[in-house]
């Protein structure tokens, strides 16, 4: 009895002392950057995850062959010092000779040949298949020279090599396999991975042997502790208490509040994600519905006139968001706004609906998988011209399944192009008569097919422009605006977001 009394007393004292002594977490003082990302990263092997988090990690732990400047989108040497097309299907690359992997192994052509041949082999079943399937074979010419042979002319090859396909050490990867690599990865990147708790936590440490002359530069911050926190309020509280130095994807209302907290900086940075409404012009849903107003061009044009994308962009998205006239991000190769424009004009929309035979509008199910506030604004705009859109919100996979199954007439999609600065990363999915294509325009298909293997830059641009002009004049979609993400970070941190939605902490520093 006496013992337990003591125990209670001691515990109570300990509790009191430890409460008052609770230290503020990390940050600038111990040169550790505490960051939180949204999703649990399934594996650290880039080829086998499809999450944004995987792209972010790959920039830090690995290097690609080519570097894409995050501001100018210019292609610069990284692991490859130079490259040239020997023919329409043969790309030759010279490699750096002064690069070592985190485990000390020397980087050479063998590593490039091994991993690219492995990934582009369908038997490897990589998840990022569409990013590697253009490669037919990779050949070693000498220790520091390789040739990439493509199946057919593949114009965005350089772009793909600059934002995808990290290079791993051949010996280590072949020994541990993707699974072993996924929890203990080795790369050549500016940070090495020192600790992995799958899905929970990753600790990165600056790699002291990172090669001089890399356009990424030597990292200024020593350690990065990367945690997974999905609950927004929790992230906000961690930021306020100094438990986190950086996070993103903060909803606008929370961001506005956090902006008022001293020591925190909030930036609404533009991303490559664009939003658009897609209407069933090809009548893919004919078995599911009796009437499909969207087969009539006047109805599709009316939809465009009814929605005030510019105001939505300004007031709902805010920050650096911009309205778009085509379904692509303005910096993407081939993207152009030189197409038929539909300014906000509800009167004209009503008139077009009357001409199309819908003087009193119509009812339609409106499918949405994210950004409900935007969708609700759209519902309101459509109601103004008499279109009664019934909001149906589904999980992404459920919605895409319904959409591909021809059960959707009107859907709200967004597309981030995986940060690839080439229009093929968006337009091919939606207009090349895939299961996701509900416009199915034969002329557009012809133009896109020609563009997909046109190596002449100007000719390729012209082909995409023509395709985009048809898409706009036929009003297959209602292009909306570019998305922003709210970055929130400690004011002690010098950090600049980029529109490719890939934070680069090797460029960040303490102020």
């Amino acid at each position: 009895m006496r013992i337990s009394k003591h125990l209670v007393l001691i515990s109570a004292l300990a509790l009191l002392v430890s409460f008052t002594a609770y230290p503020a977490a990390a940050g600038k003082k111990d040169d550790t950057l505490n960051i939180a990302l949204e999703k649990e990263l399934e594996t650290l092997d880039w080829y086998f995850n499809t999450a944004r988090e995987g792209i972010v990690l790959s920039q830090h732990a690995y290097d690609f062959l080519i570097y894409r400047d995050p501001v100018t989108f210019e292609h610069k040497p990284l692991l490859a010092t130079s490259w040239k097309w020997l023919s329409n299907t043969v790309l030759e690359l010279e490699l750096r000779q002064d690069v070592v992997f985190h485990n000390g192994a020397k980087f050479s052509a063998d590593d490039v040949v091994y991993i690219l041949n492995y990934a582009s082999n369908p038997d490897s079943k990589v998840k990022y298949w569409t990013y590697v399937n253009w490669i037919k074979e990779v050949k070693k010419i000498d220790d520091y020279k390789v040739q990439i042979i493509t199946h057919k002319p593949f114009p965005p090859a350089i772009e793909f090599l600059s934002c995808a396909m990290p290079i791993y050490p051949k010996d280590y990867y072949s020994q541990v396999g993707s699974k072993g690599f996924g929890v203990k990865p080795i790369g050549t990147g500016p940070y090495k991975v020192v600790q992995v708790e799958p899905g929970k936590k990753i600790v990165l440490e600056a790699f002291d042997k990172y090669f001089a002359g890399s356009p990424k530069g030597k990292p200024a911050i020593k350690r990065i502790v990367w945690r997974t926190i999905s609950e927004v309020n929790t992230k906000a509280a961690e930021l306020m208490t100094g438990g986190l130095d950086w996070c993103w994807l903060i909803p606008p209302d929370q961001a506005a509040k956090l902006a008022q907290v001293p020591n925190l900086t909030v930036v609404a940075g533009e991303t490559m994600r664009v939003g658009f409404l897609y209407m069933d012009a090809a009548n893919v849903s004919k078995d599911a519905f009796k009437d499909n107003p969207f087969t009539k061009i006047k109805v599709r044009q009316a939809m465009n006139y009814a929605i005030d994308a510019a105001t939505m962009s300004k007031t709902l998205a805010g920050g650096q968001s911009k309205p778009v006239d085509s379904v692509c991000f303005p910096t993407q190769f081939g993207c152009t706004g030189d197409v038929t424009k539909y300014s906000y004009d509800p009167v004209k929309a009503k008139q077009l609906l009357t001409e199309a035979g819908y003087p009193n509008g119509f009812e339609v199910d409106f499918y949405v998988y994210r950004d409900r506030p935007y969708a609700e604004a759209i519902v309101g705009s459509l109601a103004n011209v008499g279109i009664k859109a019934k909001l149906v919100q589904l999980q992404y996979s459920a919605m895409r399944e319904k959409f591909q199954g021809g059960k959707v007439q009107l859907a709200f999609w967004t597309w981030g192009s995986n940060s690839i600065n080439d229009i093929s990363a968006i337009i091919d999915y939606w207009f090349m008569h895939t299961n996701d294509d509900i416009a199915r325009d034969p002329k557009v298909l012809e133009l896109l097919t020609a563009a997909s293997s046109e190596m002449d830059v100007e000719k390729r641009k012209a082909l995409y422009k023509e395709a985009l002009q048809i898409i706009a004049s036929q009003a297959y979609t209602v292009p909306l605006f570019t998305w922003v993400t709210n970055y929130c970070f400690s004011s002690e941190l010098g950090f600049t977001p980029n529109s490719d939605e890939t934070p680069r902490f090797f460029l960040a520093k303490w102020k």
Binding site: A24, W129, E197, K200, N233, T234, A237, L394, M399, N435
Partner: protein, 305 residues
């Protein structure tokens, strides 16, 4: 007694099978797992590739039977998302959930004991009502809201406790209170009514007549008898807490089983979801079974019924 136990056991098994079947079907209805796994920028070709790779193209019943047959042998398969054995992923995270569940249960019992006893000693007075009000408040507040309020108060304002994570025992203080407080009223009411009943019984009157001291009567004689039903309630509540920690784990970014379940549903990681549902329902069924048997041992009348 054996017949009774066997009957309960058979019922428990049926419940476990039904739960696993229903959860299997419900998850399939929520969307094509291959599309979810393939991620956003995936082509039809890629999706088909994944569908075949993980056998999602087979008839549902075949998939279910295949899964249950292997689960019976203790093989829960591999998570297509993490590409790790499900048992390994769950093993990594069960500790957090069990710790949280255990601490919360202890908290709930420790809080409800004094409240229940106080209320029973002073029935129908303001003390009774106050004790009840304190307990009921726990059930009335949504736990995620209560959790956030605590974060604002203890972490943001006072800076006493860390907001989220599992680094130390400090990280468990707020989640424990948030989860445990919710279960308090059930315990408190049971202790109160049990104590009131026991305190009015003959042997307590005898004890008082013998001149025993009041605290001794209360804790040594009365409480021991009043607490028996609490034990069986605790078993059931523990099951609730393991399942109910989903929200708390996500608020406090504790990477336990609940958080894993929540995330896995979103990304259609079926083997993980199925294994978690099966495990939680089995724990629940086993705990309920144990409490049934315990009650039957303690109270012969139940056996006869």
């Amino acid at each position: 007694m054996i017949v009774y136990t066997l009957k309960r056991l058979a019922l428990a098994l049926v419940v476990a099978v039904i739960v696993s079947l229903v959860s299997f079907m419900l998850i399939r209805v929520s969307g094509d797992p291959a599309i979810a796994l393939a991620g956003e920028a995936s082509s039809a070709e890629q999706i088909q590739h994944i569908r075949e790779q993980y056998g999602f193209d087979r008839p549902l019943l075949v998939q279910y039977l295949d899964w249950s047959w292997r689960a019976l042998q203790g093989d829960f398969g591999e998570s297509p998302y993490f590409r790790l054995p499900v048992s390994q992923i769950m093993g990594d995270r069960i500790g957090v959930t069990m710790t949280l569940g255990g601490c919360s249960l202890a908290f709930a019992v420790l809080l409800s004991l004094p409240l229940g006893i106080l209320a029973a000693v002073h029935p129908n007075t303001w003390v009774d009502r106050l004790a009840l009000a304190i307990a009921v408040l726990g059930q009335a507040m949504p736990s995620f809201w209560f959790g956030l309020i605590m974060i604002i108060f203890f972490s943001v304002t006072l800076r006493w406790l860390p907001v989220s994570g599992t680094g130390s025992w400090r990280h468990f203080v707020m989640p424990t209170i948030a989860l445990g407080y919710y279960a308090t009223p059930a315990f408190m009411r049971l202790i109160r009514s049990g104590m009131i009943e026991v305190l009015s019984s003959d042997y307590i009157r005898t004890a008082r007549a013998k001149g025993l001291r009041w605290p001794k009567i209360l804790f040594k004689h009365a409480l021991r008898n009043a607490i028996i039903p609490v034990v069986s309630l605790a078993a059931v509540q523990f099951g609730f807490m393991l399942g109910g920690s989903i929200i708390i784990e996500s608020v406090f970014a504790l990477h336990g089983i609940g958080y894993l379940a929540w995330e896995s549903i979103g990304r259609s990681d079926l083997p993980v979801v199925q294994a978690i549902v099966l495990m939680l329902s089995l724990i629940y069924v086993v705990l309920t079974l144990l409490s049934d048997i315990l009650n039957a041992v303690l109270d012969p009348r139940i056996r006869v019924k």
